[in-house]
Amino acid sequence: MPWLSTLMAVPAVGAVAVAAVPKRNETLAKQLTFAVSLVVLALAAVMAAQFNPGGDRLQFTETYSWIPSFGIHFALGVDGVALVLILLSALLVPIVVLASWNEAAGTPEAPAKRSVKTYFALILVLEAMMIGVFAATDVFLFYVFFEAMLIPMYFMIGSYGGAQRSYAAVKFLLYSLLGGLLMLVAVIGLYVIAGKNTFLHTELIGAITDPGVQRWLFLGFFIAFAIKAPLVPFHTWLPDSAAQAPAGAAVLLVGVLDKVGTYGMLRFCLELFPDASRFFTPLVITLAVIGIIYGAIVAIGQTDIKRLIAYTSISHFGFIAMGVFAMTTTAGAGATLYMVNHGFATGALFLVAGFLIQRRGSQYISDYGGVQKVTPVLAGSFLFACLAGTAVPGLATFVSEFTVLIGTFQNRTYLVAAVIATFGVVLSAIYMLWLYQRVAGGPPSEGVKSLGELNGREKWVMAPLIAVILALGVYPKPLFDVINPSVTQTLSIAGVTQDPEPTLNVAVQRGAGQ
């Protein structure tokens, strides 16, 4: 059974169906969307269950010729990394749908411009493309999804966002488009210079040998990904978009879309241009570390909840990028897991923040205070999300962050980077807990007193997120089992055969597993 194309087809068809629902019958549209997203989730789960970590690198592969004249294939397939990211998307979408139930209606000061059903149709379109972008094994196909994804998100921000939505939407689209176009040049270069008349990723590995050429092409890809991810200094679009987008869209934007950037670094930069990757690693690591610290510091200074969360994500993307380029299997695996965990953690943060903002009607931290006295459960979920944001042990984020750091530390070359990055842990405690203190601590401020407690739907939004974050925090092994082989393969393509040996390797001496 063609799993991946099915996974893409279902939401695509679903989107059409939702769009076809008569305008008045909004509830039906919502229910339909929710149902479709659940089906996708189920399918994804079944597929994941059949994935064999020990098996071939790419599984569930499908290859159809799409545009023979240009050697373009509609080629799908997943390795461990892609699989977990697809699972992430499949799990987040139903949650987002549930969370956005009343959101598309728009806020009082910024009424939505378009029908509710469109919003949900767009979510499904986006889901199809998200799955496609992770599943694509044809560079051109990847690029197509990479760019096409922008459009639904553009409309979600622009039509359903806050007061500054048009500015944010345009900024988002143009910024990403510029990156994408630079990448297009690199894609063309890859095709022309490799001269293989195919875009199949597997065929192109090792096709470019000249290091000079590699560097240029690497830059083309990397800048696009760095804008997407986003790394400092290409980040300023994210706070605007995230702050203006409705919470649901923000979750998909930061939780999944941006992961395409870091995923692309791992999948394309490292594998297609290994020499260039090694050449640029110091630069990338530097950017990443700057991002970690800088993002955190700027986050501390934010006055707008959503902007703050956006900046924390910039800091976190620094961790991911660092892990990807640290060139150790540990860091690589950690970074991949980080992509997943960050999706859930930031998702939780944005959604709770969304609940707060919907109730209070303001994004400004100063308008809050004493929430925990008024709505303990809401505040509790918020606290949980904040703790996940600051990577407290027992939560998924801790595992990935610690792994990334220790993996980077492992590579003696980037010891200093790892040390500086580790300090980010302290900063994260400051921005998260201070946010919580200002929002939930102290006596309830005016306007907060009247806030309502989480309702059933919202509880069902938070429950799965909390459950997943806890589960992955205590028992991350299943994901690692899937990720490890893929990352090892990627790194071996990138020319990293094994991690640096410890100065005195006890594990080997004693043959103990640990």
Binding site: K171, V232, P233, T236, W237, Y294, I297, V298, I300, G301, Q302, T328, T329, T330, G332, A333, G334, G370, K373, V377, G380, V392, P393, G394, F398, V399, F402, T403, L405, I406, F409, Q410, A418, T422, F423, V425, V426, A429, I430, L433, Q437, G441, G442, P443, Y475, P476, K477, F480, N484, Q498, D499, P500, P502, T503, L504, V506, A507, V508, A512, Q514
Partner: protein, 635 residues
């Protein structure tokens, strides 16, 4: 002699010792998950879980005693926790004399404090949540001490930090509490930063973070590496155990409910640093420099804490100061190497008892004085709350080290060990003891002796049984504990397989020069306190006092230092960064857009609308093209 080999355990109670952690964890989960449903019986469940955990600990302890000495370090494999690339951690528990003693202390004292809290929090609508957090703490603390690898320790380490954050800020609606909680967590994170780096270095050195492999091979590593590791771990220890320079959070932490101060900020969590240093003994023994720094930190803190304790009028803060100082002793002892480990832990346990007793006593007093914490508003309480007075008193005698109470045994052995290693440290410890004599007496007399200085609406009364019984039990512990542990070196012997022992173990001499001097100093201090706070009337508002007093009142300007050194620059940096991000980075982006727009606006004026100017452009264009082509052609 070296510690014993670690044997992998399969069955028995020890095999099931994960229950120790699981039970309170489940308790916490239930209480948090089912929320209000459990309000009625939540506190009972929490207490039950803690007691059950204690039971398991006792059984495990008994079983452990069953083995002969060489086999008393038993490892329990739990599950494959974190296989990330070449960083692979299997989670397991290490049940050995060291960890089990901690487990007993944590669950034992913990349970007592649970019971006490039933009474103390009776009128708090969030009591259920309080017990959930307490259970969470117990679980985390047990992870910390029972884990068989440094990652596990780190998890527990941050876990207790989290629990302490939740409990200090339990009354979130008090801004002071919220701030204190955040401060505690952040300062601890600074320590954790060191701990994490230490663990990283351990991993890159040994390729693993399991005690089993690391400690056994520590000798093989280079001294530099070990020193680095040692110092990094010490940074962690300073954070958690409120040692200089990361002490500032502990006094603010008193914002939490008193049982929390007793359990977390006196008896258990704050001693984690001592556990870490002792556990990593093998590493420190390979790094004399690190050891020296440890002892210095310990000595400095024990004096600093004592000085702070002298000046505080807030009973809890005074006690907190003393906690700092007492932990200073433990750290000092732990820094001495094998010779000190046993005493450090012994003092830790004894301190666990008497400090808990006194904190709970203080709580009981506050309970009676409707949450008044200023000792200047106390006085003459011995008559109205006899049990509290008695138990607190016993704790007091124990801490100042009156023979034959526990403090005397444990502290004097530490002083002796210090003397044995370096007289300087020894004498510092002695002086510290003297000051202790003064400030603890001050607390004692201001609270229970002298004339009544109560607020008009205060009607002090003895606390309910549920609160007094724990006090009694704890005071018993603080009376006997030290003797049982130290006399005849039983405890040292018991710990030996876990931490090793010096070639010639230090026997306990009841009568020694330092011992005598200590007693004399203590009595002197006590006497001075008596004249100053019992005989002469105590002003209800604190006198301005000498520079030293203010210096002590202001926590030795620790906060002032942090503020001017980190906070203000930090805020300044933040503002700068935000400005830079908006104007600088984003400014460039928007500026570029604006530039293009401007160019467009200017260029479109060229389109004058006059056909002749268009023709001109065509003509000039043609000329240009011709010229260009001729130019190109002529190459």
């Amino acid at each position: 002699m070296q510690p014993a080999e670690i044997i992998t355990e399969t069955g028995g109670v020890i095999g099931a010792s994960w229950l120790m952690i699981a039970l309170p964890a489940v308790g916490a989960a239930i209480l948090l998950l089912f929320g209000r449903l459990t309000d009625r019986w939540g506190h009972l469940l929490g207490t039950a879980m803690s007691l059950a955990s204690f039971a398991v600990a006792v059984l495990a302890f008994v079983e452990l005693l069953g083995f002969d000495e060489a086999e008393r370090r038993r490892q329990v494999m739990l599950y494959d926790f974190l296989p990330a690339g070449s960083f692979h951690v299997e989670m397991g528990l290490l049940i050995d004399p060291l960890s089990i003693s901690f487990a007993l202390l944590i669950t034992g004292v913990g349970s007592l404090i649970h019971i006490y809290s039933i009474g103390y929090m009776a009128h708090d609508e969030k009591r259920r949540k309080f017990f959930a957090y307490l259970n969470l703490f117990v679980a985390a603390m047990l992870v910390l001490v029972l884990a068989d690898n440094y990652l596990g320790l780190y998890i527990g380490w941050e876990g207790v930090g989290l629990a302490s954050y939740l409990l200090i800020g339990f009354w979130q609606h008090k801004p002071s509490a919220a701030t204190a909680a955040k401060k505690a967590f952040v300062v601890n994170r600074v320590g954790d930063f060191g701990l994490a780096l230490g663990i990283f270095t351990i991993f890159t050195t040994f390729g693993t973070v399991a005690y089993k492999d690391v400690l056994a091979n520590a000798g093989a590593a280079e001294q530099v590496t070990l020193t680095v590791i040692g110092l990094l771990l010490l940074l962690g220890a300073c954070g958690k155990s409120a040692q200089l320079p990361l002490q500032s959070w502990l006094l603010d932490a008193m914002e939490g409910p008193t049982p929390v101060s007793a359990l977390i900020h006196a008896a258990t969590m704050v001693t984690a640093g001592v556990y870490l240093i002792t556990r990593s003994g093998a590493i420190y023994e390979g790094a004399p420099t690190a050891q020296l720094v440890v002892t210095i930190v310990g000595a400095a803190t024990l004096i600093a804490g004592a000085i702070i304790g002298c000046a505080k009028d807030d009973i809890k803060k005074a006690l907190a100061g003393s906690t700092m100082s007492q932990i200073g002793y433990m750290v000092l002892a732990a820094g001495l190497g094998p010779i000190g480990y046993a005493f450090a832990i012994a003092h830790l346990i004894a301190h666990g008892f008497f400090k808990a007793a006194m904190f709970l006593g203080a709580g009981s007093v506050m309970h009676a004085m409707n949450d008044e914490v200023d000792m200047r508003r106390y006085g003459g309480l011995r008559t109205v709350m006899p049990i509290t007075f008695a138990t607190f008193g016993l704790g007091y005698l124990a801490i100042i080290g009156i023979p034959p109470l526990s403090g005397w045994f444990t502290k004097d052995s530490i002083i002796e060990a210090a003397m044995h290693v370096s007289p300087v440290l020894g004498w510092v410890a002695v002086i510290g003891a003297g000051i202790t004599g003064f400030y603890m007496s001050r607390v004692m007399f201001m609270t229970f002796f002298g004339e009544k200085r109560w607020a008009s609406d205060a009607h002090p009364h003895e606390s309910p049984k549920v609160m007094t019984w724990p006090l009694i039990l704890l005071s018993v512990g603080s009376v006997l504990g030290g003797g049982l542990l130290i006399a005849g070196g039983t405890f040292a012997e018991f710990l030996r397989p876990a931490v090793g022992a010096p070639e010639e173990p230090l026997a306990f001499h009841p009568v020694s020069v330092p011992g005598i001097v200590t007693i004399v100093l203590v009595l002197a201090g006590a006497a001075y306190a008596w004249t100053k706070y019992a005989k002469s009337p105590v002003p209800e508002v604190a006198p301005r006092g000498s520079f030293l007093t203010t210096f002590a009142r202001r926590d030795l300007y620790g906060d002032a230092l942090n503020e001017s050194l980190f906070m203000r620059p930090g805020q300044w940096l933040t503002r700068l960064a935000v400005f830079f991000d908006n104007r600088g980075v984003d400014g460039i982006v928007n500026g570029l857009a604006a530039a293009i727009g401007g160019t467009s606006g200017r260029l479109r004026r060229i389109q004058t609308g006059f056909v002749r100017s268009y023709a001109l452009s065509v003509f000039l264009g043609a000329a240009a093209v011709v010229g260009a082509l001729l130019a190109v052609g002529s190459f």
